[in-house]
Symmetry: C2
């Protein structure tokens, strides 16, 4: 794990790193020492590890004492794009233009990325938990849209993750992994989501095996999640990871 920059402001230290070929960012409370709960932040499709809503959420969590890590998903952000991804992305765009079922096209893309993404997160998690200011404390995952599509295979495979905020995605391609998830989940739905049919969102919530799960639905389109859901997620993680 090679740290390439470190800055601190408003009580939060932000350190960029690369681990193998994975570029990432770690946020911790300034001057943090010793074990603390860790939250993994998964970004959305065509976004990257320092998209504004990722950075602001990470800083909010770190202000409350959490360590937070975000990485670029495969073929996203500072990572190179491979040929197969290019073919799948072109196929997805063409399919959408031709009126094919977008849920199926999106699920195909997520399925392709998930194998690498799960391995990346597991590598990063192990490395970050070796840092003095993080340690092997409880771990949460937060990701919606593509962050949910890659998060569900991760959580189903990774027993270190004990609570998750997910959502803004339908059940397509995810039912089996979702049925293996039993940790507490907060699941976000945008009631007027133009990209995810409501019944498919509700079906993904249904598919989660977690005895404790809360669906939180707000009016508005895919990108209109209200800011108070960040506070709600913070209290959820505080309840389960502290």
């Amino acid at each position: 794990m090679r740290f390439t920059s470190q800055t601190s402001s408003d009580g939060v230290t932000e350190r960029h790193f690369t681990l193998d070929e994975i570029p990432g960012v770690l946020w911790t409370p300034e001057g943090a020492r010793g074990i603390r709960p860790l939250i993994l932040l998964g970004h959305g499709g065509r976004q990257h590890k320092t998209a504004p809503h990722i950075t602001s959420r990470a800083r909010r969590y770190a202000t409350e004492g959490f360590a937070v890590v975000a990485i670029d998903a495969p073929n996203h952000g500072d990572r190179p794009q491979d040929e197969e991804f290019g073919r799948i992305a072109a196929r997805m765009r063409a399919g959408m233009a031709a009126g094919e079922n977008p849920s199926e096209l999106v699920a195909g893309m997520h399925g392709y990325l998930a194998r690498q993404a799960v391995a990346d997160w597991q590598t990063v998690l192990t490395a970050v938990q070796h840092l003095d200011q993080v340690g092997a404390g409880p771990v949460g995952y937060c990701g919606t849209s593509m962050g949910c599509g890659l998060g569900i295979p991760l959580i189903s495979a990774e027993p270190r993750i004990r609570a998750a905020v997910l959502g803004l995605l339908g059940v397509h391609g995810l039912a089996e992994d979702a049925a293996r998830i039993t940790v507490p989940v907060q699941f976000l739905v945008q009631w007027d989501d133009q990209m995810v049919p409501r019944d498919q969102s509700l079906a993904l919530f249904d598919a989660l095996a977690s005895p404790e799960k809360t669906l939180q639905a707000n009016p508005g389109k895919h990108g209109d999640v209200p800011p108070y859901e960040v506070d709600s997620s913070l209290r959820f993680f505080a309840r389960h990871l502290n």
Copy 2:
């Protein structure tokens, strides 16, 4: 407004009162003086103003600085039952036994009670806001199941109510009043509610005209709302009434 008893414990003062023929309870922080936000608590069917979940919720809100008032709904708790109520209740039981649509039967009962309940709440609200330790501050309403069925007509008629926690009820008989409600709403749904069909719950959430509304759904039956929803409602009221 005639106070009939007063006790204080754990920092909360509980005072029973009658106003006209309405029996009620007022909870305030012990030693409270001056204006504070007020929450009206509406109980469920066949319950009363000091049902355990009402009392514990009221004390929790009062501990955080709110004034809280609960009253017996018409024909409930310490209030006499009228003949018409007896006929409607008998008709409801018979209809349910005969397999009639329970949503319709319940809506008929709520419709009968609502006229009196709305007038009762408005009288009590005016009187409570004249008390020194409450005053004319911002007002919220919290009621699910029958508390939602009587609350929706109340909120649609009462501009002093600025935020509401509702739910555990379907749209039957409530669509018109719901369409007049524009204040922020937290709307609870029990995902496996044996008394309220899921699609009718979602339709009532849809019918609310509030630009800010959040549907919060948890697994389990009608009575299984998880305890963290009380905390969530508290933060919701704090956000909108403080």
